[in-house]
Symmetry: C2
Subunit: 422 residues, 2 copies
């Protein structure tokens, strides 16, 4: 790396220290001022739209020169419409309630100490993401509204777009009287600097990687700061013997086809042996008619011989595509065992009219979101009424499932006495 690398590492530390100062100041900033920033940023985004698109075109040219695939280029592309969407997103976040300063609990101890547990910002949140420039704006909006300073480290392919967007967000800070350093972009997109960001204990309070499996694995391996893991979704729909089969079919089909590329889409359909013979032919035909490739267990293939054979690997695969693995199980208990062995603790559904089966399923399945007679596709901050989301947590610490503004806060205990000592 040579001299330049060393300078960049130094800059990152300085950026993180100024982010920490900004975060402390932001902790005392009113909801009104944070909302003024969001509104200002929305206006400036529109105002500077042409300049942003110009910078984005540089990224797009570079990506095409490097021969990136069309899906990648599509994600990287900004348009007037997308800038308008980002601006609308900022205004939507402004309309949400402030998650900071909520009194979560309040009690008095026998010695007279009054203890109040209040929500406060996390502090400095670092986001490492790939080449979707809209993440720059969306993530910054949620983090700052929750009182956090944010350090953004996007992919190198989006660096010109990200710089232009960050400049707008920082200009909005100056105009609204927020510390400018509450939004910072890591302009050096080297792996070394990303690695350094993951180990800034004492300066970075939380790191949220947003991207594919490779990115998340690499963050888990390198990070020494606390990480929130998001991502993986091997989700199941279990059609119980005691269900309304029409409802079973509707949910089984929709959970796969309504948007197969997202993490809350179903990957495996489990069907109770008791109804498999009546249920599978119609359901799988419908899936086939919608263009879904079906891969089944031996029992499924006895009933529907046209189905391809599933391998062991299929049960652990997040296809993110129009492919569905199907397994016949011996009732709810085997369904639960299969899900706990192969699921990623994201979203799981049972279709049943049997309350006992539903209770076993909700109690014993280990997942963030469990659905009784509804599609797994509802796991989403918007659908849960959170207004927006920074991601869907796949771990059990701190927050599970959709993470909105409240999940970007922690708490403090404020303890009031009149001279108590111990």
């Amino acid at each position: 790396m040579g001299q330049k690398g060393v300078e960049d590492m130094f800059d990152l530390d300085r950026a993180a220290r100024s982010a920490r100062s900004a975060a402390i100041a932001l902790g005392g900033v009113s909801a009104k001022d944070k909302n003024a920033w969001l509104e200002e940023a929305a206006a400036l985004l529109q105002e500077h739209g042409e300049k942003i698109l110009e910078e984005n075109r540089v990224d797009l040219e570079n990506a095409r020169e490097k021969g990136m695939n069309p899906a990648f280029v599509e994600r990287l592309t900004l348009t007037e419409g997308r800038i308008r969407q980002m601006a609308q997103g900022l205004l939507q976040v402004a309309a949400l309630p402030d998650p900071v300063g909520r009194v979560l609990e309040e009690f008095t101890r026998p010695n007279g100490l009054k203890i109040r547990k209040v929500s406060v910002p996390l502090g400095v949140v670092a986001i490492i993401f790939e080449s979707r420039p809209n993440v720059t704006v969306d993530a910054a909006a949620l983090c700052v509204k929750a009182g956090n300073a944010v350090i953004l480290r996007g992919g190198s392919d989006a660096i010109h777009s990200n710089k232009a967007l960050t400049r707008v967000l920082q200009q909005a800070c100056r105009n609204a009287g927020l510390p400018e350093d509450c939004v910072q972009l890591v302009e050096d997109t080297s792996r070394e600097t990303a690695g350094r960001l993951m180990t800034l204990n004492g300066l970075v309070d939380v790191l949220i990687p947003r991207g594919g499996k490779g990115l998340i694995r690499s963050v888990l391996e390198q990070a020494t700061v606390p990480v929130i893991q998001t991502g993986d979704g091997v989700c199941h729909v279990y059609v119980d013997g005691a269900c309304d089969p029409e409802m079973g079919k509707k949910i089984a089909v929709s959970a796969k086809i309504s948007r197969p590329s997202v993490c809350n889409a179903a990957e495996t359909l489990l069907v109770d042996e008791a109804i498999a013979e009546g249920f599978l032919p119609g359901c799988l035909e419908e899936l086939r008619a919608k263009g879904v490739e079906v891969r089944g267990c031996p029992k499924t293939r006895e009933i529907c011989p046209w189905v391809e054979a599933a391998t062991e690997e299929d049960w652990d695969t997040e296809y993110n595509d129009l492919i569905y693995s199907v397994k016949v199980v011996d009732g709810v208990q085997e369904a639960i065992r299969h899900i706990n062995a192969h699921g990623t603790r994201h979203s799981e559904a049972i279709i049943t009219r049997d309350e006992g089966a539903a209770e076993q399923f909700t109690t014993l399945v280990d997942a963030a979101s469990i659905y009784v007679n509804a599609s797994t596709r509802f796991t989403d901050g918007g659908e849960y009424g959170f207004g927006a989301e920074i991601g869907i947590s796949n771990q059990k610490l701190h927050a599970r499932g959709p993470m909105g503004l409240r999940e970007l806060t922690t708490y403090k205990y404020l303890v009031y006495g009149d001279g108590q000592v111990r």
Copy 2:
């Protein structure tokens, strides 16, 4: 390591898989059955006391042969009294409310979905600790009461004691009808196996290291599973100009001397310049009379020339001893800046009658517990009314400050529909 190492690694994986099965089963176990286990374990501990002490004597002999220091040997030592204390601890945990199954929120969405957020166990909790055998019993009690399976990895010097204690806890599982594998001890105390335990993603849900800085640093560096960081406490008492000086002195002295070895003891005393001349001589004399070594900033030494000079390092040092650093500051704002620069976000106190100063302090100081007119020493699960604690969290994710039973749980969203798809 050779062949033996490979076998042990295999065993750890098997242990973790059986812990995960046990955790899933425990999620459906009633409070009554978990309490029966605690009571059974308390009775068996007393019953097998002699056998446990015998195994402990093997550890003690080994420790003396290895020339371990007296403080180490003291921590390792079990006595009839300590076994009785452990048994009483188990009964106290039995008396606490079940943290699992609490409905945290409940709401209905416009599309008719009923969403219920309920507390559930974390799953598999791994604890890595040093040579205090009582941690085996205390940690297992809290984890299992919160519905978690626990994997204990204690120090090699306590291995005989830990094995004897674990056998008792597992016997209690069999007697009370809980899965035996909900309490497991890693009998291979090699670094390799500890390292492997830290990277069992998908099997270990949370890892809590309990011990000194070296242990915690090594866990942060190696772990890929989620970690809760506990420990460090560089805590401050700030005596504001507007305080009752007698209260200031009482708290400043007590926060240092009442138990200097613990993390919530004060390490640095900050005194407002406005009252330093009147306040410091009496306060520091009293500290000296109690055997405290005082290290001061230049202004402190102008007022009390007998005080030794503090170095820059002192402001960042957790002495855990009868040593106190003292600094004169220019009011509450400089106090806040000093604490945010040098504190470990654990426990911080202001002594003042000025509500404005108190509000600035509680808003802008970044710490888990902030005291107004009370000692930092109250940061403790028992003092907060949690009944017991697994540790004091030093990070912002998940739980902050004292962690009791509730902090050993997470949540699930249960979503009830009547056929909704998206």
